[in-house]
């Protein structure tokens, strides 16, 4: 590796009166010569030539400093994220969802970078490798495309093009929730710059990097359900009337990993946790999203109705079939149930038969009124 330019830049920097301090390397100029510190090495009173020589012998530290110096952005989420991508030490605490391998010191990190360091961010796979001059190269693709040759994928250069990739799922349906686990594979950003990489991740999963960073810094501003609900106005004014137990059902319906890759950190309120798994992902969800708010309005209206007892005649098999239909819809499986698979309760013919027999047939559009069941007074 050619560390010459990095060494020159570093000498120039400390000659300007700055102390260089980066990932175990510390250099400063003093009246008695230069002071250089590395893990397990300390030299003082070095001449410029001695400093150059020693730095060149530890060229990885010099190029590492130079790269991160140019990335800049001290204290920003962008810098923290890029460092996390290559397993460099990042300030703050690992988030609950990070199965975080230990950060790597420069020599080990450079060994790993030579092979490429992979990180997963939702359904994104970010790979960092080392360029000849000590710069980093990045590759961003779908986790399912790990190992695929770039030529076999659609290549993208402009981060903003990620918006198009996030708009539809594999069946061509609109994805209103960017962190739904339905991102299409088959594309790659083969060589984004550091800035472009963070920008693209921001288009795929907006604000996840910034909220992850806040969480690491212990500054995530969680807005719990009841605070968010009470803040709403207009047609969403009603959602704070959603009963307590319905908030559990809502979170189970919408916020688990099978539906959204954000890790739910909001609860009913700060002292009343929600009884549904929050998820395992690296990036947090800090308040109920707009989809949850919109759905909560429907549920708040539904829940304002009283329950009644209904008398319905069904065989045991028909009762089980209704459960199967609800399960199939809830799991999004209806499309995969084959036309002639009449063993499946949620098969279309089976459902049409049940409707003909018990729900008043095709023309009964009154949503479970006359056609299905009798009210027990």
């Amino acid at each position: 590796m050619n560390a010459e330019r990095a060494v020159e830049a570093l000498v120039e920097r400390v000659d300007g009166g700055e102390t260089v301090d980066c990932d175990g390397l510390s250099v400063e100029a003093g009246p008695e010569g230069y002071r250089l510190e590395l893990p397990e090495l300390e030299r003082t009173g070095l001449s410029t030539e001695e400093l150059r020589r020693t730095l060149s012998a530890f060229g990885e530290y010099a190029t590492n400093w130079r790269y991160w110096d140019r990335v800049g952005g001290a204290g920003t989420a962008r810098r923290a994220f890029l460092r996390w991508c290559e397993r460099a030490p990042v300030p703050g605490e690992a988030t609950p969802g990070e199965s975080d391998p230990e950060p790597l010191a420069v020599p080990d990190r450079y060994d790993a970078l030579a092979e490429g360091i992979d990180r997963e961010w939702g359904q994104l796979l970010l790979t960092t490798t080392l360029a000849e001059n000590g710069d980093r190269r990045y590759d961003l693709r779908h986790v399912e495309d790990a190992g695929a040759a770039v030529e076999d994928l659609d290549t993208y250069d402009e981060p903003r093009e990620a918006r198009e990739l996030t708009t539809f799922d594999e069946d061509g349906r609109y994805r209103p929730l960017k962190t739904a686990p339905t991102l299409v594979p088959g594309w790659v950003f083969p060589s984004p710059s550091a800035t472009e990489l963070v920008s693209a991740v921001g288009f795929f999963y907006p604000a996840t990097v910034e909220n992850w960073h806040r969480e690491r810094e212990g500054e995530l501003d969680v807005d719990h359900w009841i605070d968010t609900a009470e803040r709403q106005t207009g047609i969403y004014d009603v959602i704070d009337e959603l009963p307590r137990e319905a908030v559990d059902w809502m979170a189970e319906a919408c916020c688990v990993d099978s539906q959204c890759l954000r890790r739910r950190e909001w609860e009913y309120d700060s002292e009343d946790p929600i009884d549904a798994p929050g998820g395992e992902g690296p990036f947090p969800c800090r308040e109920p999203c707009s989809l949850v708010i919109a759905a909560a309005r429907s549920w708040a209206i539904d829940e304002s109705e009283e329950s009644h007892t209904w008398e319905v005649e069904l065989t045991r098999g028909e009762r089980n079939q209704i459960e199967e239909i609800v399960d199939a819809v809830a799991e999004g499986r209806t499309e995969e149930i084959r036309e002639a698979d009449v063993g499946e309760g949620a098969n279309r013919y089976r459902a049409r038969y049940l409707r003909a027999k018990r729900f008043g047939g095709e023309d009964d559009g009154d949503e479970g009124g006359e056609g299905f069941g009798d009210l027990v007074e």
């Binding site: 952005g73 920003t76 903003r160 910034e210 806040r214």
Partner: protein, 298 residues
């Protein structure tokens, strides 16, 4: 560093709702006038709530991509952006003259601008829209122009914005006739031909994005088509008038200029970006016209 946030409604159901927002954001990005440009939404992501934290800039200009001053611009957006010092009086507006207010949120300076729809530059976008749909850069003589709005349903300012621009265009004397028409109040767009003597009438809906109203309701109500799914001709013959239906004004490329004007009014340093957008969008309009005549109304 300075950032621009374009705050739009977005949709949970319609993938096209955000397209004009993206297009205008990209036009502004390409000028390089801002260090950062973000789209933010009520129904999409990044949400209004999360957008400020995605910026590294300390100076943030927020421009609502909304037509009128009302519920969204006065309540929802400021609340969700955490503009705790906000009060609608800060705009000192009678309904169409919001300017900007400088506030703080999340440790940044937020210049919260009035919506694009009530900026004077919007008048030019309506005229540009009329030019593009007729493919005539001098359209006006012998032609009527209808500016169409939603009406008062939830907000009286919605009608004010429509009337404001209609008045301004009328005063220029370029079109023979100019009328403000509405979907849910008199004068109604259903009776568009009753309000014009000119044979040719250009109809420009003052909406941010094409959707249910502009692509289904209005074309059917005006009698351009029996069934919106079958499309309509541009121009379409209705009761001995030729109706040139433009679709939502918000899809016009020149909207990016209004966004820049809003930010510049509030103090953003954008140098000559406005001129560059004017030129770039005029070229886009030319190219669009050549490409889209055959499919107009699809």
């Amino acid at each position: 560093m300075q950032a621009l946030v374009i705050a739009a409604h977005g949709s949970h159901l319609n993938p096209g709702a955000a397209r004009p927002t993206y297009a205008h954001a990209d036009t502004v990005r390409d000028t390089g006038a801002f260090d950062e440009v973000r789209e933010a939404f009520w129904k999409e992501e990044p949400h209004f709530r999360e957008v400020i934290r995605t910026l590294e800039s300390d100076e943030v200009y927020v421009v609502p991509l909304f037509i009128s001053e009302g519920y969204f611009t006065e309540q929802v957006i400021p609340r969700e952006l955490r503009l705790s010092e906000w009060d609608p009086d800060r705009w000192d507006s009678e309904g169409t003259d919001a300017d900007w207010a400088t506030l703080e949120a999340e440790g940044k300076t937020i210049h919260y601008c009035g919506p694009v729809g009530t900026h004077d530059a919007m008048t030019d976008v309506i005229v540009r829209r009329a030019e593009s749909v007729t493919d005539d850069p001098d359209v006006g003589k012998g032609v009527g122009l209808a500016v169409v709005g939603h009406g008062t349903e939830r907000n009286e300012n919605s009608a004010k914005a429509v009337e404001y621009h209609a008045d301004r265009i009328r005063n220029r004397g370029r079109f023979d006739e100019v009328e403000a028409l509405f979907m849910d109040e008199e004068p109604e767009v259903d009776d568009v031909t009753d309000y014009f003597e000119s044979d040719d009438v250009v109809v420009v809906p003052l909406f941010v994005a094409d959707g249910y109203h502009t692509q289904e309701d209005i074309p059917e109500d005006m009698g351009l088509t029996e069934d919106y799914r079958e499309g309509w001709e541009v121009p379409a013959e209705v009761e001995e008038h030729r109706i040139w239906y433009a679709g939502a004004v918000g899809t016009e490329a020149l909207m990016a200029e209004v966004i820049l004007e809003r930010a510049a009014d509030a103090g953003a340093d954008i140098e000559n970006a406005i001129d560059r957008v004017k030129r770039a969008t005029a070229e886009m309009a030319d190219a669009d016209d050549r490409g889209s005549r055959a499919e107009a109304g699809d």
